[in-house]
Symmetry: C2
Subunit: 162 residues, 2 copies
DNA sequence: TGCGATTTAATCGCGCGCGATTTATATGGG
DNA sequence: CCCATATAAATCGCGCGCGATTAAATCGCA
């Protein structure tokens, strides 16, 4: 993203980067990670692993591709991450009998209880860290989601007007 | 972030992750990167390097710490990044004569003309990729910036109520 | 049936972020 | 003056993201 409103001749502002929406997204992502880190360290998982466990909680025995569709990641990122979760005993990986190409990933009992525990306290801690009202965050969430969707379709290689 | 509005009993929605603001920030960050990648490849730089060059354009001969304050990064991340920019001939690194501990980073002529060229076309391409109006993006930018600031102060180790 | 095209994961290399540590320089108190 | 402390940057290891490639299984079609 670039300077958004070119209609600002007078003040040079704090920093040029602050005019970039992409930078706000980038920096807020870093900030989220820093808030999550100490909370997730107590569970021995990373932030991407936390997201994967949340996604797995939604539906069990998902393929790597299906999980990737939810997380917007591909096997080159997911396979090593899932193997680390497997080493930690939090998920199981099984080749599909019908189609040996696909690997199905499921929460183990330990994984399920870990993510349930985590969801019991972490979201509340995060909500407090934002210092904002839930409805305000929901609105922001929706706007960001549609921005993300627009960017994803713009980044898609095939068939776009423009 | 967690489920934001617990006031939604009926629909299980698309995916649980979509209820997490942190995930929208994370996924939108990934999406921004994917839009930037082909644009920045033509200049031979990465997205963090692009941000660093933008920050350097704002004020020359900055210390690593000052640059880090703008980017919300520290020397463990910045030093290697800056060295890559130096190898590419885009910035210069010089030890401060008054205080030999500090390193001052400045754009080279090549770096300045590269970032000027990049800013000449990339922000417009990004604006188009969002498919949103500039004023809407500006509003989103401000909300995200204050969210980021809140998270950063919550993540700061010392002296907080709560 | 056979065999190329497609699909699904996995592998590899590189550039971040970052916690932890190290090195080098500067500063201040006895 | 000397040494403890502080500060700035650099180094190291690990876990992502991801482009590119590979391996293996399935599908399709003659």
């Amino acid at each position: 993203m670039g300077p958004m409103s070119e209609t600002s001749p007078p003040a040079p502002q704090g920093d040029p980067l602050d005019q970039f929406l992409c930078f706000s997204v980038y920096a807020t992502g870093l900030a989220f990670n820093r808030v999550y880190k100490p909370l997730l360290d107590r569970f021995g998982i990373t932030y991407p692993q936390y997201l994967a466990l949340v996604a797995l909680r939604g539906a069990d025995a998902q393929t790597v591709s299906a999980l990737g569709a939810k997380l917007h990641l591909e096997s080159n990122t997911l396979t090593p991450l899932i193997k680390r979760l497997e080493s930690a005993g939090l998920v199981t990986r099984t080749r599909d009998k019908q189609d040996e190409r696909v690997v199905r990933v499921a929460l183990s009992d330990a994984g399920r209880s870990l993510i349930d525990d985590a969801l019991g306290c972490i979201p509340a801690a995060l909500l407090e860290a934002t210092g904002m009202r839930a409805e305000e965050l929901t609105a922001l969430n929706h706007k960001l989601a549609s921005l993300g969707a627009a960017l994803r379709s713009a980044a898609a290689p095939a068939g776009r007007a423009g």
